[in-house]
């Protein structure tokens, strides 16, 4: 189903993506679309890669691991889903459905893989500390990089299994899926972005500024403005609030200084 070159390139893509997601972070915006496009190129169908990447990217909005928390990993889901959709010679809506059927569970399992990786980290950081105590600086670096074996391997290995021994099982599984399940997955694709937004809202100061959610909603739902237009309006409002706050702080600072000065006079 997959050529050896494709298997290697897909595993490499997952590995490089995982490393850059944690560390370099230079290609993380819209990374689901990016890996979709790259997978499309590897598998020889850019169109499917783009559409699947776009669909899964919208589902991934708002998900990010703040403060060490773990969230679903749609980029790896997108790589797996796109690869199978193209390998099964699908296109259009059929390809998107297949990619979602594989991609969503892979993304959801990603939460567990992330936790496993971070649990393994303790072992390596203690090894680093031990090397540091022995003034073995080279060993310290070696143990640090060794942590990437579980961190990256945890993602690459399932991908290799999926594209080699697992591929026929996945294919027959996809072919056996009844129509109602496909319908359910389409519903899920519309519903899952809501989870990302709910997670994100919990990390924002909703108690203090929650009412601003209405502002965005009204502009989108009643005024039918695009996201970019709403973002621009939002910037105007926020720059204004920022200036007010800064001036307020300055006034408070001056007031405090004056009070201090009076005390000295006495």
């Amino acid at each position: 189903m997959f050529t050896p070159l494709q298997i290697i390139l897909l595993a490499l893509l997952v590995g490089v993506y995982t490393w850059q997601k944690y560390n370099l972070q230079m290609l993380m915006y819209a990374s689901v679309v990016l890996v979709g496009v790259i997978t499309g190129l590897i598998m020889g169908n850019l169109q499917v890669g783009m559409v699947v990447g776009g669909t899964l990217c919208l589902m991934s909005l708002g998900l990010f691991g703040a403060g060490g928390s773990s969230v679903p990993e749609y980029s790896v889901g997108c790589i797996a889903g796109t690869a199978f959709a193209i390998a099964m010679r699908q296109s259009g809506q059929e390809a998107v459905t297949t990619a979602m059927t594989i991609g969503i569970p892979v993304a959801a399992l990603g939460t567990e893989l992330d936790v496993l990786g971070k649990t393994s980290g303790s072992f390596f950081v203690h090894k680093m500390e031990a090397c540091s105590d022995k003034k073995d600086w080279k060993g310290m670096g070696r143990w640090m990089w060794a942590s990437q074996i579980p961190f990256i391997g945890l993602w690459v290995l399932p991908m290799i299994l999926l594209t080699t021994v697992g591929s026929t099982y996945v294919q027959s599984f996809i072919n056996a899926i009844p129509a109602w399940l496909n319908g359910g997955l389409t519903v899920a694709s519309g519903m899952l972005p809501a989870l990302g937004f709910a997670i994100l809202l919990h990390q924002l100061p909703m108690k203090k500024y929650g009412y601003f959610i209405l502002f965005g909603f009204v502009l989108a739902a009643y005024a039918n403005l695009s996201i970019l237009a709403i973002a621009m309006l939002g910037v105007i409002v926020c720059v204004f609030i920022y200036q007010m706050k800064e001036e307020n702080d300055k006034r408070t600072a001056v007031a405090t200084a004056e009070v201090g000065g009076d005390n000295e006079d006495e």
């Binding site: 993380m28 919208l58 909005l61 519903m191």
Partner: protein, 275 residues
């Protein structure tokens, strides 16, 4: 540090060159969350990254081992701001005064919380949500312009942080602390912008529609149309509301909730209630 005389600082100070700093930064950006763990979080690569500079400053392995014992303690910040804190710490270590490591660690601990908040708000909430939405829609329609915009924004911001790192070393901690008040305000308004944009995306990106309908006499009524007359995108609002409420429950984790959502969607879609 005010009690330390200028003279003492000037006698011992080791000034790191831009080349030294680049070496530390390069190490940091390629490794900053390796060894991530739930005990000390990002402390491991921090020590590995600062090592070349620390070796130049102290040039004594025993001193370094002693100092690293402190640096291996808990550290967690937004990775991009982490590099700025690392630079401020090196600025303090460069003075080679007695309490430098203690001071540096205090600075590290006091800055990591507020800067993580700002980093999360801008680098991980605002920009990826907006650029991701644009890139996602455009890719669905067969255009990669949105993706290019998203990547350009990402890479440009990355280099802003890279270039900011050098003045942070030169001006030391004052560079960050002098702007502490502004940083807090900036975080707040960025959070407001984030909430607003999420409000908009509840309407545009979420897509929950009711397929259920019923017939009374000649009239077929569709649940979705009926509910949308109350408030547009009723299904979206309801879904986000329920999930937000569910996540507020103490025992609920997002890793459970994603499976609950998938199963609920398949069941409700399968029986034809949603579609």
């Amino acid at each position: 540090m005010s009690e330390i005389s200028e003279k003492e600082i000037q006698e011992n100070e080791v000034i790191l060159t831009k080349k030294d700093l680049k070496q530390v930064l390069t190490r940091y950006v390629i490794s900053r969350q390796t060894c991530f763990n739930y005990e000390t979080m990002q402390s491991g690569p921090w020590v590995w990254s600062m090592h070349p500079a620390m070796k130049k400053i102290y040039n004594d392995d025993d001193v370094l081992a002693e100092k690293y014992r402190s640096y291996f303690k808990f550290f967690n910040c937004h990775p991009w701001f982490g590099q700025l804190i690392l630079m401020s710490n090196l600025a303090i270590e460069s003075t080679k005064v007695q309490e430098s490591t203690e001071t540096a660690l205090n600075v590290r601990t006091s800055l990591m919380g507020p800067l993580a908040g700002l980093g999360d708000a801008i680098v991980w909430v605002l920009l990826p949500t907006v650029t991701g939405a644009i890139a996602g829609y455009q890719a669905q329609n067969g255009s990669l312009v949105g993706l290019l915009i998203a990547l350009l924004v990402n890479i440009a911001l990355w280099f802003v942080f890279w270039n900011l790192s050098f003045p942070v070393y030169k001006q030391g901690v004052s560079f960050i602390t002098s702007k502490a008040g502004s940083l807090r305000n900036l975080t707040e308004v960025c959070s407001i912008l984030g909430i607003m944009i999420l409000g908009a995306m509840v309407a545009t990106t979420v897509n929950v529609t009711f397929a259920a309908s019923w017939t009374v006499g000649d009239l077929t009524q569709n649940l979705n149309d009926l509910l949308n007359t109350i408030i547009p995108h009723f299904g979206n609002v309801l879904t986000v509301g329920i999930l937000y409420w569910a996540l507020g429950k103490p025992k609920m984790k997002s890793s459970y909730l994603i499976w609950i959502v998938i199963i609920a969607a398949i069941v409700l879609g399968g029986i034809g209630f949603l579609g």
